[in-house]
Amino acid sequence: MPIVGSVSLSLAFGFSILTLIVISLYLRTNDTRLMETGRRMSLIVSGLSLVATFVLLFELVTSNFDIDYVAHYTSFETPLLYKLSALWAGQAGSLLFWLAILSFYTIIVVLRYRFQHHSLMPWVIIILTTIQVFFLLLTVFVANPFGPTKADFVVQNGMGLNPLLQNVTMAIHPPTLYLGYVGFAIPFAFALASLITRDVNPMWIRSIRKWTLITWGWLTIGIILGGWWAYQELGWGGYWAWDPVENASFMPWLTGTALLHSIIIQEKKNMLRVWNMTLVIITFTLSIFGTFLTRSGVMSSVHSFAQSAIGPLFLYFIALILIVSFGLLFSRLSILKSEKRIESFTSRESGFLFNNVIFIVMCFTVFWGTIFPVLSEAVRGTKITVGAPFFNQVNIPIGLVLLFLTGVGPLLAWRKTSKTGFIRNFSIPLLAMVIALIVFMVIGYRGYTIVSFSLAAFVLSAITVEFARGISVRIRKQKENVFQALMAMVARNKGRYGGYVVHLGIVFMFIGFTGHAFDQEKEFGIKVGESEHIAGYDFELMSVQEEERPNHYAWIADIRVTDLEGEFVTRLVPEKRIYFYRDPNPNRQQPHSELSIYETVMKDIYSIFNGIESENQTAYFKIMVNPLVWWVWFGGYFMVFGTIIALWPNRKKVA
């Protein structure tokens, strides 16, 4: 069986080169039979890549430990779900997975636009195939997932998957992220194709926008799930640490968000065409760069990067993308330049433009902080690490400006906002902001928290005003009730109102982020019957049970939480587990802390069981009280919901 996978990949590689040749011939001769052949070959390349992926999945599920990859990341005991998710647990597998998703998207594009975009499609296929060639090159020659186990004996059982990764979220989070990363290849292919063919027809921009939104939606879900997993599983009480891997996904998200906004101006006003091209190119490059960051080992050390075979290949590929894309862009500048100028600072166009500038600047600060350790090590010999405080301090003010614009943008009119329009649109939101400002100052909040909450009030009321105005117009003119009016209004302009729902999500998330300023934590050891006090709560240790379970041994603490008045709040049952506890070698035993979190709208109570000292029966805990975290996830639902509204297909007629 593994031979089938290996051969499929090699064949796919061969066919991918053929596809490039055949379509190039078509472009020379204009013989449509060649184009049809090229299209089919492209489908074969993608099909074979998918076959290889399914073969690897099959090997993982059937535990064929003759394959190195299978032996590394699974064992007989690994549950089925995690045998499947082992596909993206390691380097070779995740590169194949990248290829598989790209192939999946390519099949959709090739089939769906069979009768559309005639002049663009040959180039779109060439570009997508070229990206496939790169990943086929990696999986066939450099990191082949079907390589045999390097051992001179029969492997009886595999290593198994790290217990930390044995979590349902961890089975969903990487594929969603990948669907996001990889999806940007399609807008990129269309953009480049239009540059090559000098096609500036706004038709394709609509196709691009939809793809960008789908891709962006997946990336958003992926990032939020990653944060949620970290919070629920890793036990440091947070959801975002500005780790290079997180930054890798955040950067294309930032530029992709900028693109989603500025592409609207191109659709409506046919402006900013050069800028949008630049954004598409940067976003795709950043998603390749993200894969490079997470897969080359460059972040742990420059030296491990130099030893890894795939690191330099990725860098060459990124250089190739940048040179070709920007070379093309410069040679086509004269066609793309728009006659139109933005007319006023107070126009919606300028609002979008500033939003773009801020997203890009934010992306640059993240980029700088992420690569600075590598640069400093390469240039000066001493590695200087950049910690979360840098990213937080730099990005909090930028983020707040962005939050402000989230409220301002939709209130501005196209071209120029008149004075009366300004007063009509801004009076209620500004009033809400001032009231919030005064209230929070009186309560005694300080610094950024006041600014953040007041801006949240501003944006929330701005969005509410937008919805209320639209609804009231319909109630007056169409004699509908509130609900009918809301549904009809959203249905008529899904992009706009879907966008507002996403904005609501962003505001809720900012409320959640701000809660971080009020976090409290304490580490302590107590005996059964004793209690400890933190952040207005009492924690009494009721008991510690021990239990032997199929694949681990567990100590289960029972903590009773009461508030200051002695009212019962909740019970927390954090566990300390030892996986592989039967292994005589203590180093192979794997401790694992199973958290217990009490989540409410206002605050989370987060508990970690550190361990138990058997001699005098003292158990050790870390307790954190994290206000408003719930709002981060709540905002996440809104973002997904808003994206779905914006993507919801129109009724048949329009087509």
């Binding site: 590394h72 647990a89 972040m299 001493t382 050891g525 794997q590 401790p591």
Partner: protein
């Protein structure tokens, strides 16, 4: 309305951000420095006046000692090849912290002992290269 005004605003914003990044990089707020040097044990020993730094290395075998009166207090030997350094840490330890584990510590020297305020183990899901070594070794044992 001229194109130049926009340019001025945009360049102004970028300049302010650049200065802000520089300010944050050079001005540690309280105990949390934004930029921290990552040194080797030998480099650390060669210096006399060092502030807060980061070190990476492995936990020397059988060097972990946990205070039996307070489980949160641990001392261990950090090794980088031949070079070793005693480290003390107080707080919740990561699950992957054990003999041989690859760790990163952040803190400062106090006399002869490195007082770590942050103790991180390299997360297996994220640092592919490191996990690979361990696993290859384990497969060979089987």
């Amino acid at each position: 309305m001229g194109k130049n005004k926009f340019l001025v605003v945009i360049i102004g914003f970028i300049t302010v951000t650049a200065f802000w990044m520089y300010w944050v990089s050079t001005n540690p707020s309280g105990t949390e420095s934004a930029l921290i040097r990552f040194l080797s044990i030998d480099e650390l020993r060669a210096e006399t006046n060092h502030g807060r730094v980061k070190l990476g290395g492995n936990v020397a075998d059988e060097s972990i000692q946990i205070n039996q009166n307070d489980l949160l207090e641990a001392t261990f030997i950090l090794s980088q090849g031949e070079a070793t350094l005693p480290v003390r840490y107080y707080g919740t330890r990561p699950d992957l912290f054990k003999d041989g584990a690859e760790v990163i510590v952040e803190g400062a020297m106090e006399g002869e002992v490195f007082q770590a305020e942050v103790l991180q183990t390299k997360c297996a899901s994220r640092y592919e290269g490191d996990l690979r070594d361990v696993q290859t070794e384990n497969i060979e044992e089987m």
